[in-house]
């Protein structure tokens, strides 16, 4: 049971991170890969 719960939490976290990254890349809303980017809006296409 513990395995299932923790596994689901970890899987959910990966899915959320993946979805968030995909959304950013897809919408080109922000730079997906520049940490320390002084302004996310600067990365708009």
């Amino acid at each position: 049971m513990g395995n299932f719960i923790i596994g689901m939490i970890v899987f959910g976290a990966f899915a959320a991170a993946g979805y968030s990254t995909y959304k950013k890349v897809k919408s080109k809303d922000t730079c997906s890969c520049c940490s320390g980017c002084p302004s996310e809006a600067k990365c708009r296409k």
């Binding site: 395995n3 990966f14 890969c33 520049c34 320390g36 980017c37 002084p38 600067k42």
Partner: protein, 715 residues
Amino acid sequence: MKIKIALAGNPNSGKTTLFNALTGSSQYVGNWPGVTVEKKAGRLKDNKEVELVDLPGIYSLSPYTLEEIVSRNYLMDEKPDAIINIVDSTNIERNLYLTTQLTELGIPVVIALNMTDIIRKNGDVIDNKALSQSMGCEVVEISALKGIGLKEITEKAIALAREKRQSIPKHAFSEPVEKAIKEIEALIKEKVDNPRWYAIKLFERDKNALEKVNLSSDERARIEAIIVSCKKELDDDSESIITNERYNYIGDVTKKCVNKKNKTRVTTSDKIDNIVTNRFLALPIFALIMFLVYYVSISTVGTLMTDWVNDVLFGEIIPGAVESFLTSMGTSEWLNSLILDGVIAGVGAVLGFLPQMLVLFFFLGLLEDSGYMARVAFIMDRIFRKFGLSGKSIIPMLIGTGCSVPGIMASRTIENEHDRKMSIITTSFIPCSAKLPVIALIVGAMFSQTPWMASAAYFIGIAAVLVTGIILKKTKAFSGEVSPFVMELPPYKAPSLKGLLIHMWDRGKSFVKKAGTVIFLASGFIWFVSSFNWSLEMVEASESILASIGSKIAVVFSPLGWGDWKAAMATLTGLVAKENIVSTLGILYGFGEVAEDGAKIWVLLSQSFTQVSAISFLVFNLLCAPCFAAVGAIRREMGNMKWTLIAVGYQTGFAYVVSLIIYQFGTLFGGGGFHIGTAVAMVMLAVMIYLIARPNRRPSKSKEIWKGAVKTQGG
């Protein structure tokens, strides 16, 4: 009723500061011109019906650079309901030039006389009433930084927009020019909604205006005849006639409205500049400042905090607590491994460097906000000029210290296509903040007793830019005259602690966010491919999928001294995001492993590299192709795939050659003997020296045309 208000003004006049204050946003503000290259929209904090548009800074409505075109097109095509014209009151004469053009657009204009607190401090006086009468629009004193006059300026702008009260330009040109403009106006009045503005632009032979007014060949000929006749009468070209007459008018206005306490006063900024931009002292001071910034961030204050985060937080507290929790939950071995050896080792390894990054962000913010970074551009321009490079590429590089993506985008301010492409290629050589964990990791693991190593990474980037500039400038694709560089040096300002903390917070937040998404995902992936073999059985890392791929790729990096598959795969994962180099090494080298002597953190890593191979690894990762986001920015700015591939290919090839030379010569001088690799490195070095020293394809005229960075300081 929805109202659209544009913020227009000269570069570095405080538009973005005002925009942030009015909308509550936190757009990047820099104390140098050219920070804003795209328009940004936001809603007024107190009135969501009002949309504010922050336009890139422009000196006039005659567009010469891309960001000037952005501003002009917005004003001309989208017709905002009102314009807040931000005027830097410490530099009023130059700023009013744009005002004379804005008032001709037929859009209500209100002047926001910014930085009036500095004017008062200097003991100068500006007669707002007289200024308002002379310019044909209302004037409000503000200080965007201190929040003075903000309510008044928005209320005035909203009222003007509601009343649709157009500004009436008070300035008139000389009689022959007015006559010519009236004649052109009569010819085009049916074709455009603002005939006077277009008439002036057509008189100036503005190409964009000519395209917008649908003229027959006969009408064009008549307009040309009018211009030629006026030119003959005044003995000057049409654009200069208009410019001179505008400045003459502004000169009269400032004489009437501005009363300077001491006209020849040497300001504090001047005194500081006499030292920091001194011909002989400037470079040593710059080198010392950058050394101190990196030394304090990476080797002293930052390290103390990073060591605690690495050793205690991610070394003991979190793994210990998570392991106990997982054991109590009875989770299986693979899940424990994924969480502890994958996620915590990978993400933790990157987050461990957050304190050092925050300290660096703080100091970089301090240099930017104080105005010193603008001086760096001035100082570097002297060096760049000597090598025939455009000083304009310095601004993208300064912005690139935060992130290469906006740095690459800032290259669009360079008009000359060759110089722009060169700038796009070289910007990512300057270490961005994502490369900082890599620098900190290598310096911490291999050079803890060599404090200047971290700052050396910055200077390696500058050297790479210079060498690339010299080499490429001599090729057919990049030869030719360089863009002249004129830059305004803003007065020094004491940065506010709040502003610096916001800078630090924004950048740090973005770093943590990335650790929680891209790095987290990559850590999970790296754990999977380093823990399973092709039959999907859990194995040791050395028998994993990653090892089998890595060992084939690693051969390529053997001549660079780090032909180990782990280092090779870390470099490859760095293409997704540079921090991934650290997270991958964290997973593969067992982040938090403890050595026999009790030393923690990166003990296995330091055993896998020699000092020379570590430098080679660091240099390659600093100079090779940037992350995918930056490659995307290169693609967008280059406009085609061919040049994108050339840029990325050059960066990677250059990084390879430099790392090869470093490793092979380092090994030779370290007593490692002469090998085939040494011979190849010698040939490469000889080729590089030839490419640097060979004569130019065409004699550069840069020395004749280049006046260098011009200091036009306000105050």
